[in-house]
């Protein structure tokens, strides 16, 4: 299961260990990251504070007053021998998207770059099997893999400022739904009324890393009515 020399364990300051599984992105690497993340959540070693999964690595943060890098590495090595997570194991979440009008300023450019019609781009985006691989950049920014090859486009040369929250973005194989007004260099192909940042204190985010995501097309009218009911 493990390639020669992997995983690698590197200490970070006095309070964390970075476990790296490969130096390039692959489904098997992601499964290994999520597998160790899941195993640590199930059997946390003493002093474990939190884990943060990224594309090819897992950050394990611990309390240095209770444990140290050596103990945490031993625990991680023992757990890494357990089978990795099945990529179909995550909960399936549905996210609604309106691909129309001002909500999709870049969809025509994506269509042109992909040599497809706008409707074909939408169909293709809806057919993707998305999985949340990591959160990053800003609170609730869930990076999903699974954009179909036919509509994979590179990032723009320069970022565009003040992109509205709820924008559905693509760049290469990755897709994300923004949660805050932020700049982005990714292509904006739709807008979602689905809140990724929930107001539920015990589960403030819609997804956990490893969850699968299905997009569902909605009209502008449906989008407006969802927003109207969502706002208190």
């Amino acid at each position: 299961m493990s390639a020669q020399g992997w995983p690698r364990y590197v200490p970070i300051a006095d309070h964390a260990l970075l476990v790296s599984f490969a130096d390039s992105i692959a489904d098997s690497t992601s499964a290994a990251v999520l597998g160790l993340d899941r195993a640590l959540a199930k059997s946390p070693p003493e002093g474990l504070l939190e884990c943060s999964p990224a594309l090819v690595s897992l950050l394990i943060k611990f309390d240095p007053l209770v444990t140290d890098h050596v103990q945490v590495q031993k625990a991680a090595e023992a757990l890494h021998r357990t089978p990795p997570l099945d990529s179909n194991e995550g909960t399936v979440r549905e996210v609604e998207v309106c691909y129309e009008g001002e909500f999709a300023p870049d969809i025509a450019a994506v269509a042109e770059a992909s040599r497809l019609s706008v409707d074909e781009v939408i169909d293709c985006h809806l057919k993707g099997n998305y999985q949340v691989r990591m959160y990053g950049f800003a609170p609730g920014y869930a990076y999903m893999s699974g954009v179909p090859t036919a509509i994979q486009v590179p990032r723009k040369a320069a970022a565009v400022r003040d992109i509205a929250a709820g924008s559905v973005l693509v760049a290469g194989p990755q897709c994300l739904v923004t949660t805050l007004k932020m700049p982005t260099g990714w292509s904006i192909i739709g807008r979602s009324p689905t809140s990724i940042l929930t107001s539920d204190e015990s589960a403030p985010f819609l997804f956990d890393v490893g969850d699968q995501v299905r997009f569902k097309r909605i009209s502008i009218a449906q989008y407006e009515s969802r927003r109207a009911t969502a706002t208190p």
């Binding site: 590197v10 200490p11 970070i12 300051a13 006095d14 309070h15 964390a16 970075l18 130096d23 390039s24 992105i25 993340d37 504070l49 939190e50 884990c51 943060s52 999964p53 990224a54 594309l55 090819v56 690595s57 897992l58 950050l59 943060k61 240095p64 007053l65 140290d68 890098h69 050596v70 990591m134 959160y135 990053g136 950049f137 800003a138 609170p139 609730g140 920014y141 869930a142 805050l180 204190e201 403030p204 985010f205 956990d208 890393v209």
Partner: protein, 334 residues
């Protein structure tokens, strides 16, 4: 129920509500936020007898001017060396006083330090996000930022005269010349000489210094261009180096993931005084082994606990105060 109302008359940028922080959410892209100087924040609450991790107002070098419109409440100002003007009297941060209706309070930067804390014997009424008031400056989640005209509400306010007076500034809180780092985790992304450059030269804090991080100026740390690194997790204290070779230290509101390699990470016990540096203060880096960094965290945790316990005891009448001040200065100097 006792209450107090304060009105902000003037206020610099980056003045926000901060409790002890919101740890445990790195996996959702949310850094812990909380105070830039955790020791000073803890000291303000300890000196007032508040539970650790209560909410305080974090004040930048932009300062703050406020007036107490109603009620009365004992407060503490801690952190760095800030000037405190309270209804005609002038003093320095690391003091406990009482604000009464009609009183004005102004806090301004002094000789050193970038962040001060204003804590109260009472509860600051502000928004929470995921159960915490800590404000994440870039998204605004949490209690939020203060600006001119804002009204600050306090409830369960108390006046505790036996806590009034000065509190000692611990040596642990004072800026030093050199910060200890553990090399990595992406030291392999740098060219061979970069480690020696990091450890052998002086860097300076630049004005690009906020709650997200502190950009340094100094010799370039050359990347090994063989391989672009993938986005990797970031922690508070990561020293990341952009493509131009410029190093930045990531602080309380850091991004949780980033594609720039991290040459080293500051040990946690050096983060509080480091956050208090100002442009153009200089800084050097000394490498320690990860195992040494763990031992430092343990020995300094007990020193911090001892200090906070000392200042949490009410000062009492004048005679007890004099006695205690002798004991504390003995401890601080020792």
């Amino acid at each position: 129920m006792t209450e107090a109302t304060l009105r902000i008359k003037a206020c610099g940028p980056l003045v926000s509500y901060q409790d002890g922080g919101r740890p445990g959410m790195l996996r959702f892209g949310v850094p812990a936020s909380g105070p830039m100087d955790q020791l000073a924040h803890a000291a303000a609450h300890a000196a007032l007898g508040n539970p650790d991790g209560s909410t305080a107002v974090e004040i930048s070098t932009g300062g703050i001017d406020l007036v107490c419109e109603a009620g009365e409440v004992t407060f503490c100002v801690s952190g760095g060396d800030f000037q405190v003007f309270h209804s005609g009297a002038w003093t320095r941060s690391w003091c406990v006083r009482t604000l009464r209706a009609g009183d004005t309070l102004a806090i301004r930067p002094g000789q050193w330090g970038s962040w001060a804390y204003l804590a109260f014997c009472g509860e600051l009424v502000c928004k929470q996000w995921a159960g915490r008031t800590a404000t994440h400056s870039t998204s605004g989640i949490g209690g939020g930022s203060l600006s001119a005209g804002a009204v600050v509400k306090l409830r369960d306010t108390r006046v505790v005269e036996e806590r009034e007076g000065e509190i000692p500034v611990p040596d642990l809180a004072r800026p030093r010349k050199s910060a200890r780092v553990v090399l990595g985790p992406q030291i392999g992304a740098f060219s061979a000489g970069s480690e020696a450059v990091l450890l052998g030269h002086e860097f300076a804090v630049t004005p690009a210094n906020d709650r997200m991080g502190m950009r340094l100026s100094g010799p370039a740390l050359a990347l090994n261009d063989a391989l672009a690194i993938l986005s990797e997790p970031i922690v508070r204290g990561s020293i990341q180096v952009a493509g131009d070779g410029v190093a930045s230290i990531l602080l309380a509101d850091h991004q949780t993931i980033g594609g720039y390699p991290k040459i080293a990470t500051i040990v946690s016990v050096d983060l509080d005084w480091l956050a208090q540096l100002r442009a153009p203060d200089s800084i050097r880096f000394t490498a320690v082994e990860a195992s040494e960094a763990v031992l430092m965290a343990r020995s300094e945790a007990s020193m911090r606990r001892q200090y906070l316990e000392q200042i949490s005891v009410p000062r009492g009448n004048l005679q007890t105060r004099l006695m205690r001040e002798n004991l504390i200065s003995g401890f601080i100097l020792g």
